[in-house]
């Protein structure tokens, strides 16, 4: 494969960003929207060609003896600090980046199309498409990064575009504060990631040039991932921390992923990010950007495996987050918030799956890299059905003009397309055969049971909760009791226009069949194909749990009944805590405002205000005082100036002369 397509894949969205961003104000909505959609369609086609060439062409550079290879289609030097500290910009093609190309361009295209209908009447339509193009560019650059530094640059760029899109409705104070919150929290996490990157690259670049790692760039993924043992060796004995240096570095890098992927305790930004336009939530905060953390772990997988403690850390964080987010999602009223917490929970699921993977054969385990494959599989299927759910929620909001399920109810009669597609999305996320979520979830649970029965059981419970809260939302929105306002209102809720319905139908179709993709043949941790087979006990358990949870939700919510309220009144404290997301925001507010601002910053502010400002003010005051005193000398009379000048000259001459005598 030449380098034309890879370069075009990066250049096209960036050019679109420039064109729409600079020339957008002069364009009509129609032109801007058409341009954006066409460019993204072309982009999707190019990404499909690249991915299909990689997976199915059988070329020797892509698949060698049945093992899929990592290929750098191009890799040019951008900054050279030292001989080993070189920052490149390139295009890395391997199973996960090829898969991500497909996911990003597909969802991005769907969202572009959908936004045409959804954002039709919003001011700043052209700006919106420009930001979408910027996001697509940054996300593509992130997944094809050949080295840590390129990844970090694009990592920050997706953060910026996410910030811009969350704060798209910049006249709403809540949107502005949500965008700031998202940016600050993820930047805070990225600080740790940067430290981790620096620690890692420092030790790698300081190994002797004739050693096993000699001659390679300290940042390059292929080098790092091909020789994890040598990387570990290069850090051994370097400090008193010995081998744990690498563990620390990998955990610090993972903290960056925690920020982007909204893992506990850095999850607080994602629910608020729902203030952005709903298609943006579908693209960025459900399908692509938030899984960057998972992608990060997958990208560094060999290094994480060489230090198993970091994998354990990932597993624990993921497991706690998954459960927490699932519980909170059961007690939310805003449908976008429910979906946001469901996203957090599902991403945590992938994290646990990755954490449960091994990179070498283990006794008694038929396939040790199952967690990796399953996590990636779930990333793929989740992107599709979660984007579907978000876009469906967008259609609901478009029809009802509220995010609140209390304003909905009984909508199935009014919006049949949305109803069917939403139901498919719910079935997929709940893990019901034959929808895509079932297959990926089954593989993930199998991997977790392989690692330890506890993780498997715990995550099965989370899967049950997932099914419950999704169907709770589904029933409350589409069944329950019809909102009486619909009858009286002259503006009845109805299905969205075709630009919005078409993506829903396409994504629903994908969610129905994606499970049958032989994913194991395509994406595995070492490139060797693996034949997926359903593990009957695991599948049966998870299916039973899901069906039970759906049954419970049906019993509770299909028709209006007092039971949910009664249950809520039975455990008021629990409901309140879950509804307030277990007070995480309050804890953060307490820490930042009461502790950091009040105690630490007050002293600093005092110092700044009185010592630094005081010194400056004092200088200004002294100057001012002097100038007021002497400004009378500047009378504006030229003769007076001459007089003073001459008197001065005479005095100087006299002094000089006296001194010379």
């Amino acid at each position: 494969m030449g380098i034309t397509l890879p370069i075009l894949i990066l250049a096209l969205p960036f050019t679109m960003f420039l064109i729409l961003g600079i020339g957008g104000v002069k364009m009509s909505r129609k032109l801007a929207g058409t341009l954006g959609i066409l460019a993204n369609g072309a982009l999707a086609v190019m990404a499909y060609i690249v991915a299909f060439t990689y997976f199915f062409s059988g070329e020797a550079q892509f698949i060698l003896d049945g093992v899929r290879q990592q290929v750098q289609l191009f890799d040019v030097t951008w900054l050279a600090f030292t001989e080993r500290m070189v920052v490149n910009i390139g295009f890395l093609l391997d199973p996960i980046s090829a898969m991500m190309l497909v996911v990003i361009t597909t969802i991005s295209f769907m969202v572009h199309l959908y936004s045409w209908g959804y954002m039709e009447h919003e001011p700043g339509f052209q700006r919106y498409y420009a930001f979408l193009a910027l996001f697509t560019f940054s996300m593509l650059g992130l997944v094809v990064a050949t080295n840590i530094f390129q990844m970090y640059i694009f990592w920050e760029l997706v953060g910026v575009s996410s910030y811009l899109l969350i704060g798209f409705f910049y006249k709403l104070p809540s949107a502005v504060s949500a965008s700031k919150k998202a940016f600050i929290v993820t930047r805070f996490a990225d600080l740790f990631m940067l430290i981790g990157i620096l620690v890692l690259s420092y030790y790698v670049s300081h190994t002797p040039a004739d050693g096993p790692l000699g001659g390679a760039s300290a940042f390059n993924f292929m080098m790092l991932n091909a020789q994890p043992t040598n990387v570990l060796a290069s850090t051994l004995g370097a400090t008193f921390l010995s081998g744990s240096v690498l563990t620390w570095a990998m955990i610090l890098i993972f903290v960056g992923g925690m920020g982007k992927s909204a893992m506990l305790p850095l999850h607080i930004w994602l629910p608020d990010a729902m203030e952005g336009p709903t298609p943006v939530s579908a693209l960025i905060h459900a399908a692509t950007m938030v899984v960057a953390g998972v992608y990060l772990v997958a990208r560094f997988f060999p290094l994480y495996c060489i230090v198993p403690d970091s994998l354990t850390f990932i597993t624990v964080v993921g497991a706690i987050t998954a459960f927490y987010a699932a519980v909170v999602a059961c007690a939310q009223i805003d449908i976008k918030r429910i979906l946001a917490f469901s996203t957090i929970s599902q991403i945590a699921f992938m994290m646990v799956a990755l954490g449960c993977a091994y990179n070498e054969p283990i006794e008694g385990v038929h396939y040790s890299g199952l967690g990796y494959m399953a996590g990636m599989f779930h990333l793929f299927t989740h992107a599709m059905f979660k984007a579907l759910l978000f876009l469906g929620a967008g259609a609901l909001i478009h029809a009802v003009h509220s995010n609140d399920y209390t304003k909905m109810g009984g909508l199935r009669k009014y919006m049949p397309i949305t109803h069917i597609t939403f139901l498919i999305g719910c079935l997929a996320i709940a893990g019901i055969w034959p929808f895509s979520g079932f297959f990926s979830k089954d593989e993930m649970l199998a991997a977790m049971f392989n690692r330890h029965w506890f993780w498997g059981a715990w995550m099965t419970m989370v899967a049950g909760l997932t099914a419950f809260y999704m169907f709770r939302m589904y029933y409350l929105v589409f069944w329950w009791e019809e909102n009486p306002e619909y009858k009286t209102s002259h503006h009845k809720p109805h299905d969205a226009p075709w630009q919005m319905s078409l993506p829903l139908i396409i994504l629903a179709a994908v969610s129905c069949v994606a499970g049958f993709i032989p994913f194991g043949e395509l994406v595995t941790y070492n490139g060797e194909p693996y034949h997926i087979h359903i593990e009957a006990p695991v599948a049966a358990t998870s299916l039973t749990v899901a069906v039970l949870a759906i049954g419970l939700a049906t019993a509770m919510y299909v028709k209006k009944n007092p039971w949910p309220t009664r249950l809520k009144n039975m455990f008021p404290a629990l409901w309140q805590a879950a509804h307030r997301r277990f007070y995480w925001d309050e804890i953060y507010m307490f820490i930042t405002h009461n502790i950091i601002f009040n105690i630490i910053c007050r002293g600093i502010a005092w110092f700044d205000r009185h010592i630094i400002d005081g010194a400056m003010d004092g200088m200004a005051a002294v100057t001012n005082w002097c100038s007021v005193r002497i400004k009378g000398m500047q009378s504006g009379t030229v003769t007076a100036y001459v007089r003073w000048y001459f008197i001065g000259a005479v005095l100087l001459a006299a002094i000089t002369w006296i001194c010379l005598l």
Binding site: Q634, V638, T639, F646
Partner: protein
């Protein structure tokens, strides 16, 4: 009786101090300019005198006097242009009424 350097310096000093007096006391801008010319002229005379009596072999003083005359002419022309402009603006050439540079 010899005509030494001091003989020529005395009228130069008188000329210069007359210029200073004029510059300090007069109010008419053209009169100020005339006083200025007196001072410049005395400086020119000094250049020549020093050149002649101290360094008779060279011609530096003379050359610089020539330059000074050229510059004095230029300066006078510009100054008179400014004075005429001011006269057009405020109707007189009194230096005390031009006080915009104050503070």
């Amino acid at each position: 009786m010899d005509l030494t350097i001091l003989w020529y310096i005395v009228p130069s000093v008188i000329m210069f101090c007359a210029g200073v007096y004029g510059f300090c006391t007069r109010k008419n801008m053209i009169a100020l300019l005339i006083s200025l010319e007196l001072m410049l002229n005395s400086a020119d005379l000094n250049f020549i005198v020093f050149n002649r009596f101290l360094f008779p072999g060279t011609m530096d003083g003379m050359v610089f006097t020539l330059f000074a005359i050229a510059i004095a002419a230029a300066e006078t022309a510009v100054a008179i242009a400014i004075i005429i402009n001011i006269y057009r603006e405020i109707g007189n050439t009194d230096i005390t009424s031009v006080k915009q540079m104050k503070f």
